[in-house]
């Protein structure tokens, strides 16, 4: 009569049970790459399809957010909602780059040395960053003039506009929220890349 037990006599019974695979070693380089660009960590580990989908989702949210809220959606310093940047920063150089551009190219430096958004009637001196008053000519065209340090000639700009329009209300809320969600989702992807085993060759998913 055959032995009904699938476990050979004398063997350790626990050895016959399926053994859980040991956790994969952490992949700090994959996490760093995922922070550098959405999806890059998964691409590094061999998950090309996942990487493309992660990048598409994060970039969709980031670009739509920036489109809705304008540059004001990413503001590490001024808009009274700076703490949103702690969520947004997980999109990596995208968020830091947009914030850097915002602070250095689209804000004015007033007479006290404070960096702030320009008022609707202020033009940004492209050399010094100082605010210059916008005037309107007889045809209704806005113009401004600015002086280059070390020169006596004034340069007239026509038409002249503020460096950006301030965002408010829903546009501000939703733009900021979209980019914060993009950042938090990329943080999920960073953590996943950190603890994910490399894809088996030929089985990249």
């Amino acid at each position: 009569m055959p032995d009904p037990s699938p476990v050979p006599l004398g063997s350790n019974i626990s050895a016959a049970r399926p053994v859980k695979a040991p956790p994969a070693p952490p992949q700090p380089l994959a996490a760093l790459l995922a922070f550098a660009f959405p999806g890059a960590g998964h691409l590094f580990l061999g998950y090309r399809a996942r990487a493309v989908r992660i990048a598409a989702g994060v970039l969709l949210l980031f670009i739509v957010g920036l489109g809705i809220g304008g540059l004001d959606a990413v503001d590490r310093k001024e808009n009274g909602l700076w703490f949103w940047f702690y969520g947004q920063m997980w999109t990596g150089p995208l968020a830091f780059g947009v914030d850097y551009l915002h602070q250095t190219e689209f804000k004015v430096i007033d007479h006290r040395g404070a960096i702030r958004s320009a008022a609707p009637n202020e033009f940004r001196n492209p050399v010094t960053g100082a605010p210059e008053l916008i005037n309107v000519d007889e045809n209704g065209v806005p113009w401004a003039k600015y002086q280059v340090p070390g020169s006596t000639n004034a340069i007239v700009v026509k038409p002249a506009y503020p460096p950006k329009r301030r965002s408010s209300g829903r546009a501000s809320e939703l733009g900021t929220l979209f980019i914060a969600i993009a950042g938090m989702l990329n943080l999920v992807a960073i953590i996943d890349a950190m603890f994910k085993p490399r894809a088996a060759p030929g089985h990249a998913r």
Binding site: I68, S172, I181
Partner: protein
């Protein structure tokens, strides 16, 4: 002043709620790419999750509306009457 994309904000004060759809889609795209064991049913799962988020938010909005117009009014009337 001309509109400059990605610098100036959009004027969306009347249609902002439509943005719930790309937001839900973006969340589902990333979440399902990370969470699913295999990607065979990826797009189906993304569509389901997007729909779930949109319906869930509509229900939450409706519930909040009911709280404000019905329950808060009821409480306010009780306080005023009592």
């Amino acid at each position: 002043m001309p509109y400059r994309p990605f610098i100036d904000p959009l004027t969306i004060h009347d249609s902002w709620y439509w943005l719930l759809i790309p937001m839900a889609l973006g969340i589902a795209l990333v979440y399902k790419a990370v969470r699913l064991q295999t990607l065979e049913k990826y797009w189906r799962q993304v569509a389901i999750m997007t729909t779930q988020i949109v319906i869930g938010m509509i229900l939450l909005g409706a519930a909040s509306y009911l709280v404000v117009v019905a329950y808060v009014r009821f409480i306010a009337e009780r306080i005023a009457g009592g």
